[in-house]
Symmetry: C2
Subunit: 497 residues, 2 copies
C-alpha cells in the first residue's frame, strides 16, 4: 500500500516555491490560493443538497416516522450520493494539482471552468433522481462528468507542455512521457465511463447507471481485488509501472483535507443562521395585531428556534474543534483516514436537517422524541467516524502522528477523552429517549450547550487522573525501592518478621 | 501614518512557529487553521443578508424602478450596513489575533463562542431595521456587541496571563503592562459604546443609534481629525504612546484579507447554484401533464435561468481571478487598500441580486433593461474598487508591490489591462442599454460568458503591443544612433542636403 511505503510527502516547502517563482517571474504563480478557493467551492457544493432535505415541510400532525421513510427513500439518498460524487471529484482535483504544482493564467481560468461544471453536478444529479425513468437527467449528469474530465485532461496536457509547472520530481525524471501516459490513463477513466453512460442513456439506461456506479467504486474495487489477490497468491512483487505512478495513489495532502473539512463545517454552521435570518423575523403587522406591538413577546414564540440554533452551533463548533485538535496531531492523512473523514463530514452535513426537525417540533408535539433521536444518530455517526480516524491513525502511528500524541505520549489520554465525549453523550441521550418519554427538545438543546463546559472539566479530570496515576506509580516505585533498600540492609530474618 | 513607517510586518514565519510550538509542546497550537475557519464564517455571515434582498418577489408587471426604490430604502441598506458591521468585527478579530499569536484549547473555545455571537449580528440587525421604532431590536443588537467585546477582553486577559501565547515582540518587551492597558482600551471602546446604546435604547433611542454609529466610524473620525490637525498645526511629533501601540494600527495581515475575500467570492458563487437546485427542478406532475413527459422541453423553460447562472458564475470567477492576480503582486495591504477591498466585496455580494433580477425577467418583459442596468452598475462598482486597490498600491509601490509589478515592471501593463477590462465592459454595456432598447438579457449573459476569452486575447494584445513598442523604440534608437554616426562622419553640408 502507498501509505506503507514511507516516501517523503510531495508538498513543496514555501521556500522552494518562492525560489522557483523568483526564477520564473510574474506569469507563474503558486497555486495555494487557487486550491483553497476551489476547496471552499467543493465543500459548499457537497453540502448544498442537504437544503432541499432540510426544507421539506412536515406537518406536525403527520407521523415523522413515515415522513422520514419517504425522505430517506429519495432526498437523503440524493444528498449522500451527491456528497460522495463531489468528494470523488474533489479527490481527483487534489491528485491533479499534486502533479501540476504551479499555475499560470491559462491554468487558473481552466480550473475555474472546471469548477463551474462541478457546481452543476448536484443539480443534474437531482434531475436524475427526480426523473429516474427519463434518460435526459442521466444524459445531463454524464455530459457534465465528461466536460469535467476533458478540462482536466487539458490541464494535464498543458502542464506537460510547460513542464516548469510540474511537480519537480516529475520535472527531473527521465520518464516524463511515461508519467504523462499514466496520469492521462487514470484521469481519462472517469470521462470514458461517463461518455459510455451518456450514449447508453438513450438506449438502455440501466447500463448507464452501472457505468456511473463504476466511477465511484472503481478505486475501491481495484483496491479490494489487489488485496485479495495478494492474500491468496501471497505477497506480490510490485510492478515497475507502479513505481512511477505510486505517488498518484499517495494520500491526499493534509492541508487540502483540512481546508475541505473547514469549508463543510463553516457552511453547515452558517446554513443555520441563514434559515434564522429568513424565517424568524416576525411580520410587522402580525406584531401589531397579535402582540399589540410588543416585539419581545412576538420573539418568544421563536424561542425554540433560537435554542435549537445555539445548541446546533455549539455542537458543530465543538465537532470542528475536535477535528482541529485531531489534525494538529496528524502529520499525514492516509487513504483510510481520508475516507473516514469524508464519512464523518457527510453526517456533519446532515446536521441542518437535525436542527430543522428539532426546532420545528415545538414542545410536547407528536414527533418530538423522533426528532431528538434523529439528531442523536447524526451526531453519533459524525463523531464516531472522527474517533475512527484516530484509531486508523494509531495503527500507523509512527508515520501518521506527532510523537507527543502517540500511544503513551503526553497528549494521548486527553485526545482520547476529547474524541470519545460526543459518541458517549449522543449515545446516552439516545438511550434516555427510549426510557424517558418526557424528554423535551429544550432539555436536548440545553445538553448540547452544556457540553463545551464538559470539555473544560474533562481537561481537569484527565490532569487529575494522570497526576494520581503518576502518584500511585511513584508511590509503588518508592515502596519497591524502599523494599530493595531494606532487602539490601536487613537480614532475611528481619524481612520475614 | 502606520503604513509609512516601514516597520517589518509582524507575521511570524512558519519556521518560528514550529520552533516555538516544539518548545511549548502539544497543548499550544498554531492559530492558522482557527483563523481560516473564522474567516470563512465571517465572510459567509457578511454576505448572508443579500438573500432576503435577492429573494424579494417582484411581479413582472410591477415597474422595477419603484420596487427597487422600496428595496433600496430597506433591505439593500440592511445588507450594506450588515456587511460593514461584520467587516468591522472581522478587522477587530484580525487585530486581536495579531497580538495573541498562538492558541490553546481555552482560546479556541472562547473564539468559537465569539463567532457564535457574531453569527447572531445580522439577525439582530435585521430585527432592528424591521422595527425601527421598537427599542428591543436595538437592545438585542447592542447586547450582542457587548457579549462579543467581553469575550475579546477575556481572550486578551488570558493571553497576557499566559504570555507565551503572545506575539514575540510584546513577549520580549519590558512594557507588557503598558501594552495590555492600551490593547484593552482599544478593544473596550466598542463594548462600552454598545453598553451605553443598550441602556439608552429604553430611554431615548436616537442616542443609541448615535453610539452605534460611533463604533463604525470612530476609527475613520479619529484618523480624519489627526490628519486635519497635522495639516493645520503642521507635522506633529508622535507621542511615545503611539510607538508602543502603533502596530495595533498596522495594516491587516495580507493572508487574512485574502482568506476573507475568497470566502465572500466562494459563497456568492454558490448562492447561485443553491437557488438553481431549490427552484429549478421541475415538478414531476407538471412535466407529465404540460409537456407530456418530455423533461428536456420542461427544462427549456428554465433556460434563461441557466444562462443567467453561467453568466454570473463566469463574472464572479473572473473577478476572483483578477483579485487573485492583483494580490499575487501585492506584498502588503495598507489600510486604504483594505477599505477599498471591503467596498469591492460589498458589491460582489450584491451579484446574487443582479442574477435574480436578470433571470427573473424573461425576454421582452417590462423590466428587462432595468435589470441589465442594475447588473452593470453592480459589476462596475465591484471592478472599479478593485482597480482602485491597484492605484492605491501604486502610490506606495516600493512597500506594497513586487518589483515586477511596479511601474515599468514586466507585469505592469498586463495587470493594468486585466483590471480595466471589467469597468470598461460594464460601462460599455450600460451605455448600450441607454441607446438600444432591444438589448436582451440573453445578449447580456452571452457577453458575460465571452469575457474570459477576451482575457486570453488581451494577453496576446498586450504582448503584441509591448513588442511593437520595443520595436519602435529600438528602431528610433538605431535611427538616432545612425544619425549620430552620420553626424560624426559627414560634414554639416551633407546633412543639410
Amino acid at each position: 500500500m502507498a501509505e506503507g511505503s514511507g516516501r517523503v510527502p510531495l508538498a513543496p516547502t514555501p521556500y522552494n516555491y518562492d525560489r522557483r517563482l523568483g526564477e520564473l517571474g510574474g506569469g507563474t504563480q503558486a497555486s495555494q490560493r487557487l486550491l483553497a478557493y476551489s476547496d471552499a467551492l467543493f465543500s459548499i457544493i457537497a453540502t448544498v443538497m442537504i437544503l432541499p432535505v432540510a426544507h421539506t415541510k412536515i406537518h406536525s400532525d403527520e407521523k415523522l416516522g413515515e415522513s422520514v421513510q419517504q425522505l430517506l427513500a429519495a432526498k437523503i439518498a440524493v444528498y449522500l450520493m451527491t456528497f460522495l460524487i463531489v468528494t470523488v471529484a474533489w479527490a481527483a482535483h487534489v491528485r491533479l494539482f499534486q502533479v501540476v504544482e504551479l499555475i499560470d493564467d491559462v491554468l487558473a481560468l481552466a480550473n475555474l471552468a472546471c469548477m463551474m461544471s462541478i457546481t452543476f453536478l448536484p443539480y443534474t444529479f437531482s434531475l436524475m433522481t427526480s426523473f429516474p425513468d427519463q434518460p435526459f437527467g442521466l444524459f445531463m449528469f454524464s455530459s457534465c462528468a465528461v466536460i469535467i474530465g476533458v478540462i482536466q485532461v487539458m490541464i494535464v496536457l498543458y502542464g506537460f507542455r510547460h513542464s516548469y509547472l510540474l511537480n519537480h520530481q516529475i520535472q527531473e525524471s527521465e520518464n516524463k512521457a511515461f508519467y504523462k501516459y499514466h496520469i492521462l490513463k487514470i484521469i481519462l477513466r472517469g470521462p470514458t465511463l461517463s461518455f459510455l453512460a451518456a450514449i447508453f442513456s438513450f438506449f438502455f439506461f440501466p447500463l448507464s447507471y452501472m457505468f456511473l456506479g463504476l466511477i465511484v467504486f472503481f478505486p475501491l474495487l481495484s483496491h479490494l481485488t489487489k488485496w485479495f489477490r495478494s492474500r491468496i497468491l501471497g505477497q506480490e512483487e510490485e510492478l515497475p509501472v507502479d513505481y512511477f505512478t505510486s505517488y498518484l495513489k499517495e494520500p491526499l495532502s493534509k492541508e487540502r483535507v483540512e481546508t475541505f473539512s473547514d469549508g463543510v463545517y463553516a457552511i453547515v454552521a452558517t446554513l443555520l443562521i441563514l434559515d434564522i435570518c429568513e424565517d424568524n423575523v416576525p411580520d410587522d403587522n402580525l406584531v401589531k395585531v397579535k402582540y399589540s406591538g410588543h416585539l419581545a413577546e412576538a420573539l418568544r414564540e421563536f424561542s425554540p428556534s433560537f435554542l435549537a440554533y445555539f445548541g446546533s452551533f455549539v455542537t458543530i463548533g465543538l465537532l470542528w474543534f475536535v477535528h482541529h485538535s485531531l489534525f494538529l496531531h496528524v502529520t499525514k492523512a492516509t487513504r483510510l483516514m481520508t475516507l473516514l473523514n469524508t464519512l464523518s463530514l457527510a453526517f456533519i452535513g446532515g446536521l441542518p436537517l437535525a436542527y430543522q426537525l428539532t426546532s420545528e417540533f415545538a414542545e410536547k408535539s407528536y414527533n418530538e422524541i423522533e426528532a431528538i433521536q434523529i439528531s442523536c444518530v447524526t451526531i453519533f455517526f459524525a463523531s464516531i467516524f472522527q474517533f475512527s480516524i484516530w484509531i486508523a491513525a494509531l495503527f500507523h502511528e509512527v508515520e501518521t502522528l506527532h510523537p507527543f500524541a502517540r500511544y503513551g505520549g503526553k497528549e494521548h489520554a486527553f485526545m482520547f477523552a476529547k474524541l470519545s465525549l460526543y459518541p458517549c453523550v449522543s449515545l446516552a441521550v439516545f438511550c434516555l429517549t427510549c426510557v424517558m418519554s418526557e424528554l423535551s427538545t429544550t432539555i436536548f438543546h440545553l445538553t448540547q450547550i452544556i457540553v463545551p463546559f464538559a470539555f473544560l472539566v474533562l481537561r481537569i479530570f484527565v490532569r487529575i487522573g494522570l497526576m494520581m496515576l503518576n502518584y500511585i506509580m511513584s508511590l509503588a516505585r518508592s515502596k519497591s525501592s524502599v523494599l530493595e533498600e531494606e532487602e539490601a540492609c536487613l537480614s532475611p530474618a528481619d524481612v520475614l518478621s
